[in-house]
């Protein structure tokens, strides 16, 4: 008993000192994080308030953190003078097809590599891993020539097809399919299910969490894609939102409030998607980075 008391009396101050040290460390870390967040978020805030200012106020010298004269003029102009509704439609259709195509083809490819035994399976996987290391920019000229030869430039198909190749989705799916106990596939085989049915009725529903996470991230990526749609869609009719907003200018040059308003409009759907599916998106990003959630 005495011994316990002694040990308590000697260890207690140490604990307090350590706790205090952790508290101060934590406080500094929190402050650094907050400052970092402000630095990161400030351009977004600046974009937002600029879009609500009249152009005369935008070009005034000095920094004004709030609009003195709140106006929706920039938004009204974009809505009335550009084809933004068409760009939204193009973005929505191409992003949806890309998402659907990427998920289906990647899941199928991952199932084949993960579950079927055939000569060259390992080589195929290595090739997919290898292609993961080639950036899309390195292939963009090839894609352009290919799409031009197929006469698919300025078409939805031309925007969609080169964006269907997303090796990281195959790799993530393969990891998850590898982790499904083999008994599920065997039980399904005994239940007369074909491989097609095993994938779509067993493996994909069993991995619904990762599928939805990957689908959301793919959709966001496709919506935000600029370089390839910029090259593939030169006519207004097939432009996506990120490409279309580059057209928001008049004969007097750039009007900052309108440019900022178009940036807000381009990012708005993605911001809504992010707010709705925050957890799943975080999970997908962790999966893509190789961290299992």
């Amino acid at each position: 008993m005495n011994h316990n008391q002694t040990s308590q009396s000697t260890t207690k101050p140490n604990h307090t000192q350590r706790d205090r040290f952790i508290d101060i460390g934590g406080l500094i870390l929190s402050l650094v994080t907050i400052v970092g967040a402000i630095i990161w978020a400030f351009p977004i805030y600046w974009t937002l308030i600029t879009s609500f200012k009249p152009e005369t106020e935008v070009i005034v010298e000095g920094i004004s953190l709030f609009p003195k004269n709140f106006t929706l003029e920039a938004y009204t102009f974009i809505w009335e003078n550009t084809n933004i509704a068409g760009w939204y439609l193009n973005s929505f259709i191409t992003s949806s097809f890309i998402t659907f195509g990427v998920i289906i083809s990647s899941a199928g490819c991952a199932y084949i590599i993960s579950q079927l035994n055939f000569p060259g399976r390992r080589l195929l996987y290595i090739l997919i891993l290898g292609s993961f290391m080639v950036p899309i920019q390195a292939l963009i000229v090839n894609h352009f020539i290919l799409m031009a030869q197929f006469k698919l430039l300025n078409t939805w198909a031309g925007i969609i097809l080169p964006q269907l190749i997303v090796p990281v989705v195959v790799i993530v799916y393969k990891q998850f399919f590898d982790a499904v106990p083999k008994e599920f596939k065997e039980a399904a085989q005994l239940d007369n299910a074909s491989h097609f049915k095993i994938l779509f009725k067993i493996y994909l529903p069993m991995n619904w969490g990762v599928t939805s996470a990957l689908a959301i991230v793919t959709f966001i990526g496709a919506w935000n894609a600029f370089l390839w749609p910029f090259l593939a869609a030169t006519g207004e009719a097939t432009m996506t939102v990120p490409v279309g907003i580059t057209q928001v200018k008049n004969s007097f040059g750039i009007v900052y409030a309108r440019t900022m308003a178009s940036a807000v409009l381009a990012g708005l759907p993605i911001a809504v998607v992010y707010l709705l599916f925050q957890r799943r998106i975080t999970k997908a990003i962790m999966l893509s980075a190789g961290v299992k959630g």
Partner: protein, 377 residues
């Protein structure tokens, strides 16, 4: 549809004639031999249990019957059809997996009807079969639940239900009780035995639990080291093990083995010495050609405490295990061999007390150097 039903009925009638036959089946993984020349006939309607230590190949053998593993040599017949080249779903069997493999996103009803839906069985027929199986297994109230909402025992029943609705020739069960706790395992074991009596289907069951094997099986197949060691009824295997491995593997506590110091073949019967004790046994050793490296075997239940202190073996009690209905005595003999003997539940013996043991000579065995067993005929 009708044809499928007829096929099923045909399968049943064929199985009734001939069961499952394995002839000279071999399996290798690369250069490693997993199973060597396995030949076995499983009768129709029989409950047969593959029993053996981990890694002996029993699950592989079951999976080969199911078609989930290819065979390298030999033939497998189910009914009078050769099936070793057929896909798993063409063999007319159903399997219950160790982890049940119930599809987690489907309800119990969907799990049970998945196989029938895939072969295009009529919806009314699917509902009839599922309801009938659910009623047999008393899981009707669980049909709309998902596997995650079920207990281990309920999942196990659903897995069996999924097998029953397919009306297979044979049920293959791969350690289906090993994920259950001890109490539930005991209850489910009895239910399985009752189910087999009711549906009278051929069941091939893999386990490493000898209690399950002894209580469920019509016949047990003891496997060791890639081969079948012995096939027999539970009591044949318990009382007449063909080898030292089988003798030591079956029975809890295990059989006692004592080195024989002197051996004489007297008119085909063995007279032996264990330490300083001479025992004249009735063990038939007519064809025993060597007197070297012999071992005497006797089960704990064939040893009893000699009240008058004049038993064949004597020693000192080291540990007393009181199990309620009986007491297990760990006794050190004069040659330092430790053996286990059974006494009554209210045994008066305590550690360090001297004890004398009688041997029931009709239940003794001798094993030669190769492990071959000799019994009282």
């Amino acid at each position: 549809m009708t044809q499928h039903k007829q096929n099923n009925n045909d399968n049943h009638s064929t199985a009734n004639q001939s069961g499952i036959n394995l002839s000279n089946v071999c399996k290798n993984f690369g250069n490693i031999k997993i199973l060597e020349n396995i030949s076995l006939h499983i009768n129709s309607g029989e409950f047969i249990v593959f029993l053996g230590p981990s890694g002996c190949g029993k699950s592989t053998l079951l999976r080969m019957i199911a078609g989930l593993e290819d065979i390298d040599e030999g033939q497998i017949h189910i009914g009078d059809r050769r099936v070793d080249q057929l896909a798993p779903n063409k063999r007319g069997i159903a399997m219950v997996f160790q982890n049940y493999a119930l599809y987690p996103h489907m309800t119990v009803r969907q799990n049970m009807s998945f196989g029938l839906t895939n072969i295009g069985t009529d919806k009314k027929e699917i509902i009839r079969r599922v309801d009938e199986a659910a009623s047999t297994l008393e899981i009707t109230q669980l049909l709309d639940r998902r596997p995650a909402e079920l207990s281990g025992g309920q999942r196990q029943r659903v897995a069996i239900g999924r097998a029953i609705v397919r009306e297979p020739i044979a049920f293959l069960l791969d350690e289906p009780l090993s994920n259950l706790d001890a109490a539930l395992r005991g209850r489910t074991r009895i239910e399985l035995a009752q189910l087999h009596q009711r549906i009278k289907a051929t069941m091939v069951y893999v386990t490493h639990d000898q209690t399950e094997a002894m209580t469920l099986a019509n016949r047990i197949v003891i496997m060791n080291n890639r081969k079948i060691e012995q096939v027999g009824t539970p009591m044949e295997i318990y009382s007449k093990p063909v080898s030292r491995f089988v003798a030591g593997f079956i029975g809890s506590p295990a059989m006692n083995f004592m080195p024989i110091t002197q051996f004489t073949n007297k008119d085909g019967k063995a007279n032996i010495s264990i330490g300083t004790t001479n025992i004249n046994t009735d063990i038939n050793v007519t064809d025993l050609t060597t007197d070297h490296s012999l071992t005497f075997g006797v089960r704990p239940d064939a040893l009893s405490v000699a009240e008058n202190g004049k038993g064949q073996l004597s020693g000192t009690v080291e540990i007393v295990e009181r199990l309620g209905d009986r007491t297990l005595l760990h006794v050190r003999l004069s040659d330092n061999t430790i053996i286990v003997a059974e006494d009554i539940g209210k045994s008066r013996l305590e550690p360090n007390s001297a004890v004398s043991l009688n041997i029931n000579l009709s239940e003794t065995h001798i094993f030669d150097k190769q492990g071959k067993a000799y019994h009282v005929s």
